[in-house]
């Protein structure tokens, strides 16, 4: 027993010492650059290991300390550290997080940085707050309609539908042929929101978001076609809303689509590599056929990870060097290829893939626009949309106004200064 107790005390001692090593942020005199990211170096997310190693090679004078923190924990982790002055020099950001930090004065103004003018123009709402640039948007990932071309051919369909009536027709044809059509795994509500955003890319006019946040517009009317599209899928028995609520997009739907069981599924381009690896059939990634006859398909971009700098960074110069490095065409391309994302820089071409050619063409034609959910200023907009759209699945026969008024009450119109 004595020996065990001794070991335990020893362990406690180790813990106390070890805890000292675990805290980051104290640079001291060395040229240390601290970075916090939700793309892990250990699992080489987004090829960050490769990118950081290149940086270390090019800048041996800077000691890069790269910490991974999970995305959902972002505010919990970083906000108190900002307040205490112990936050990292460089932080991964998206629009919601940028606004949360910039509004408290925690981020450095990067308007004078060389990469600012190279960022694509429609990304301005995603990198600016109060007229100043606070982040470098590193990726722009489209979500689109994956189609299993072999199954479509089996049902005698040789082209991916381009409009909503064509899409409904295709689903009817597939159903008649006994082939499962549109996989809508909505457990947790995420998938429903993504499909709603695809439909919104067609039906919600540019400028609506600004009007909504100014209190001059509402979901009523504008979003009716989005809700009605879901209701049509349910009413025509092309999607079972109750079953959808029980299916997990990853655990249930992804393996099934990869096994060739479904003709259509909405997912992010980030899944493309994985799907191509496993699928024994021809697959394409397309913009979403949400519009009336004669219209072009549209889709939305999830403006994903970007990078910003702590206003009180201990090593501001190295931080700017790091962002410059990440924005260089060579490095941006490595990152984009790993993420299967679209470019955010005017002088960097998007990586291309045969399977995603259709959505790339739509992007080039200006039919792929940033996500409405991300452009709304309410920091909980994404979560609110999930709950609102879930309501269509829970009450599939209720009038569209039920859902739109629920959305009006959930999403708070928010004006930034």
């Amino acid at each position: 027993m004595r020996r065990i107790a001794l070991a335990a005390v020893l362990a406690a001692g180790i813990a106390v010492t070890a805890s000292g090593c675990a805290s980051t942020g104290d640079g001291g005199d060395e040229n240390v650059l601290t970075v916090v990211s939700w793309k892990s170096e250990d699992t080489n997310d987004a090829d960050m290991k490769t990118i950081n190693d290149l940086f270390r090679k090019e800048h041996p004078e800077i000691k890069l300390e790269y910490t991974w923190v999970d995305n959902p924990d972002w505010l919990t982790y970083n906000n108190p550290r900002f307040a205490a002055g112990t936050a990292a020099d460089v932080l991964m950001l998206d629009r919601v997080k940028m606004i949360a930090f910039a509004s408290q004065g925690f981020l450095a103004d990067l308007s004078d940085q060389p990469w600012v003018d190279r960022q694509m123009d429609d990304l301005t709402p995603f990198n600016q707050y109060d007229g100043k640039t606070y982040q470098f948007n590193a990726e722009n990932i489209p979500l689109g309609l994956y189609a299993n071309m072999d199954l479509l051919a089996q049902a005698g369909i040789d082209e991916v539908p381009q409009t909503w009536p064509e899409f409904i027709d295709a689903l009817e044809t597939l159903k008649a042929a006994g082939i499962p059509g549109f996989s809508v795994p909505n457990k947790g509500g995420w998938m429903g929101e993504q499909i709603a955003l695809e439909l919104a890319a067609t039906h919600v006019p540019a400028g609506w978001v600004e009007d909504y946040d100014a209190g001059d517009a509402s979901f009523t009317g504008t979003w009716d076609p989005v809700v009605d599209a879901f209701k049509e899928l349910f009413a025509k028995d092309l999607v079972d809303p109750a079953l959808s609520l029980g299916l997990d997009p990853n655990v249930d739907a992804m393996p099934e689509f990869q096994a060739g069981k479904w003709a259509f599924m909405v997912q992010g381009a980030w899944s493309l590599t994985n799907i191509l690896e496993n699928a024994q059939f021809e697959v394409t990634l397309n913009a979403f056929p949400g519009g009336p006859a004669g219209s072009e398909p549209k889709a939305f971009n999830f403006v994903g990870s970007g990078w910003g700098i702590n206003a009180a960074a201990k090593n501001p110069d190295a931080a700017r060097t790091y962002l410059d490095f990440l924005a260089s065409p060579e490095i941006a391309t490595i990152f984009l290829e790993a993420e299967a994302g679209f470019s955010t820089l005017k002088d960097v071409p998007s990586p291309s893939n045969e399977a995603s050619k259709p959505i790339e063409d739509s992007f080039a034609a200006g039919n792929v626009t940033p996500s409405v959910a991300q452009m709304l200023n309410d920091p909980d907009a994404e979560f609110d949309l999930i709950k609102g759209v879930e309501n269509i699945f829970l009450n599939p026969t209720a009038p569209a106004s039920d859902t739109t008024s629920l959305l009006n009450s959930l999403v708070e119109p928010t004006q930034l200064k």
Binding site: I14, T43, V69, A83, N250, P255, Q258
Partner: protein
């Protein structure tokens, strides 16, 4: 027929066939309860396609490779080390401070020790979420966020009420003579405690150590708030972040991850089953 032993009484010879059926049924019910555990083990070595084809089948072929990938993605070795370090240190802290306080409370019975005891016991009913936000702010002030020490201090404090309750009731059930004898031998209180009392408390200490370890291994909340960055994650958090927040996770990754999360605890249970059952039933009656 009347016998003096309880077990003899329970044996009712006239209904033997019924008893046999009832016994077999009990075994079957136990196995049914264990079914999800077997299912987890079997599924962990099946490929995603195989599992999708027939969810209730057996592995064909056995996909041991599932484990290799998941092992790396979870950073399992590191996570196990972190969990063990946090659990062991918390146990040490709870046991040392709890037994000392328990001894003083049990042997120095005054108004103020009784009040202290009641204060500790009141801690048993406090839901963890009442404390999380202020603790978070406190750890932030102390610059302890994201360090092992934060989790250790929180776990130790949360588990003290249970440990003190346990030590005090244990001490009340054993006579004070040994301690008195030590005093006659000229031992001071510290020596008496360390050489006489602490060894006497061994069974209680074992139970407390096991229960604190179990609760720490199971916990999601404290790591979620106090051990958020990659290097200090515990197994539970590592599995949660791997399964719960990835963009795409297949069944072939899910089940091995789940087995890796559960295995250490089950092994611990099998080794210490007598102590654990003794701990669960302490204060009720016989085990």
């Amino acid at each position: 027929m009347v016998t003096t032993s309880a077990s003899g009484l329970r044996r009712r010879p006239r209904v033997r066939p019924l008893r046999l059926v009832s016994g077999i049924l009990l075994v079957i019910v136990t196995l049914i309860i264990l079914l999800p555990v077997f299912y987890m083990l079997v599924s962990s070595v099946r490929t995603t396609a195989d599992l999708g084809e027939n969810p209730l089948g057996f592995p064909d072929p056995i996909a041991w490779g599932n484990y290799g990938d998941v092992f790396a993605s979870l950073d399992y070795g590191r996570a196990i080390f972190n969990t063990a370090l946090v659990a062991l240190s918390s146990v040490a802290l709870v046991v040392v401070t709890g037994s000392a306080a328990g001894w003083a409370i049990a042997r120095h019975i005054r108004g103020w020790t009784k009040a202290t005891y009641r204060l500790f016991i009141a801690g048993l009913t406090i839901p963890v979420f009442v404390l999380t936000t202020p603790l978070y702010l406190l750890m932030h002030t102390l610059h302890l966020l994201d360090t092992y020490l934060a989790a250790i201090l929180v776990y130790a404090s949360f588990n003290l009420p249970f440990a003190i309750l346990f030590y005090v009731s244990f001490l009340r059930s054993i006579p004070q003579e040994l301690e008195d004898a030590a005093a006659i031998d000229g031992c001071g209180p510290l020596k008496t405690f360390w050489h006489v009392v602490f060894p006497l408390l061994r069974p209680a200490t074992a139970t407390i150590a096991i229960f604190v370890t179990l609760s720490i291994w199971n916990d999601v909340v404290v790591p979620l708030l106090f051990l958020t960055s990659g290097g200090v994650r515990t197994v539970t958090l590592s599995v949660f972040q791997f399964v719960g927040t990835q963009n795409s996770i297949a069944a072939a990754q899910l089940f091995p991850a789940v087995v890796l999360a559960a295995a250490p605890l089950i092994v611990l249970f099998i080794i210490f089953q007598r102590q654990i059952i003794g701990g669960i039933t302490a204060g009720i009656g016989k085990s």
